[in-house]
Amino acid sequence: MHYRNWFTDPLYLVVLVSTGILALMSSGMVIAGIESLNIYLFQSFRGICHQQLWRTFTYNELYMAVCSRCFGFYSGLAIVTLFIPIFKKIFVTTLQKSLYILYASLSLNGIDFLGNFVGAWTNTLASRFILGMMLSGSIIIVIFSIYKPK
């Protein structure tokens, strides 16, 4: 009953589908196999991602449209949205608690970036992907912290 409420809620479905589309677009559509759109999406994400190719995942020898951290961010939007019904069933999230999670994720990403920038450590494609996913996941948790499906 609980999950059926979510998956028949129009707003939840709109967010789920649109974040899924955004995640696919951030990969340059290479995961979806539409490689002809890759160069258009690379140009569309110019300016909101540094797109440094040595910090970007490849798939079938094609570069994604965004770096690994940004791909983690956009993927996280879709994946956490998909699992938010389970998350809300297990954890009681007030807006205040959700905001603390968001601040913590922002801080972690900031520390990771600064540490790598000053040479204290070297992050990897995987670590940046996971941290990006944590940040977007916390944003989804804040958005749905007060929302109940109709």
Binding site: P10, Y40, F45, I48, H50, I143
Partner: protein, 184 residues
């Protein structure tokens, strides 16, 4: 004569915020790149500041549009309405941000070429693979510039920024709005 019921409207405000922030984002990002390139030795810090500035700005149209609309509704707003407000501001942002590339071109700056030149310079300075950047540049230059390709470019811009601001609009409602009323 019957009194006219006042219904607050979000469309104009959303589109205005979207357009203004698009202009600001384009000026911030490409402005910093132009200054950095003209220094003769473009560095990573300038590039990072430009990207963070632009990245920070793309979420703002949805947030500011919702906050502005909340003043008209005494702080009451449903999260679905916030999503629509954000979506509209994102569409305006995507269209104007794409149009700004044309404005830069009229000012003598080819933004696509400049961006690739910057990436090549960073690759050379920081030990990245310049061959990868050259491959990407070749792909871009081989792309025909027709009405169809320009339309696809604008469409992808609009889709990306409208979804981003749909979410930022919902975020603004979650944080600042009273969602208990069905009125708005």
């Amino acid at each position: 004569m019957e009194p006219v019921e006042y219904k607050p409207s979000y469309a104009q405000t959303s589109m205005t915020y979207g357009a203004v922030f698009a202009v600001v984002a384009s000026l911030v990002f490409y402005g910093i790149l132009v200054v950095s390139m003209s220094s003769g030795n473009p560095g990573m810090l300038g590039f990072v500041i430009a990207c963070l500035g632009c990245l920070g700005i793309i979420f703002l149209p949805g947030i500011f549009s919702v906050k502005s609309f909340l003043k008209q509704t005494n702080g009451k707003l449903l999260i679905g309405k916030g999503a629509v407000i954000g979506l509209v501001s994102g569409v305006a942002f995507g269209v104007v941000y794409g149009f700004m590339d044309l404005v830069w071109l009229l000012a003598g700056v080819d933004t696509a070429t400049m961006f690739m030149d910057y990436m090549l310079a960073l690759s050379e300075n920081y030990g990245g693979n310049t061959g990868q950047v050259d491959d990407m540049r070749e792909m871009m230059e081989s792309q025909p510039k027709t009405g169809g390709t320009i339309l696809i470019g604008v469409l992808t811009n609009v889709i990306i920024y409208s979804i981003v601001n749909l979410l930022s609009g919902m975020l603004a409602v979650s944080i600042w709005a009273d969602t208990s009323s069905d009125e708005f």
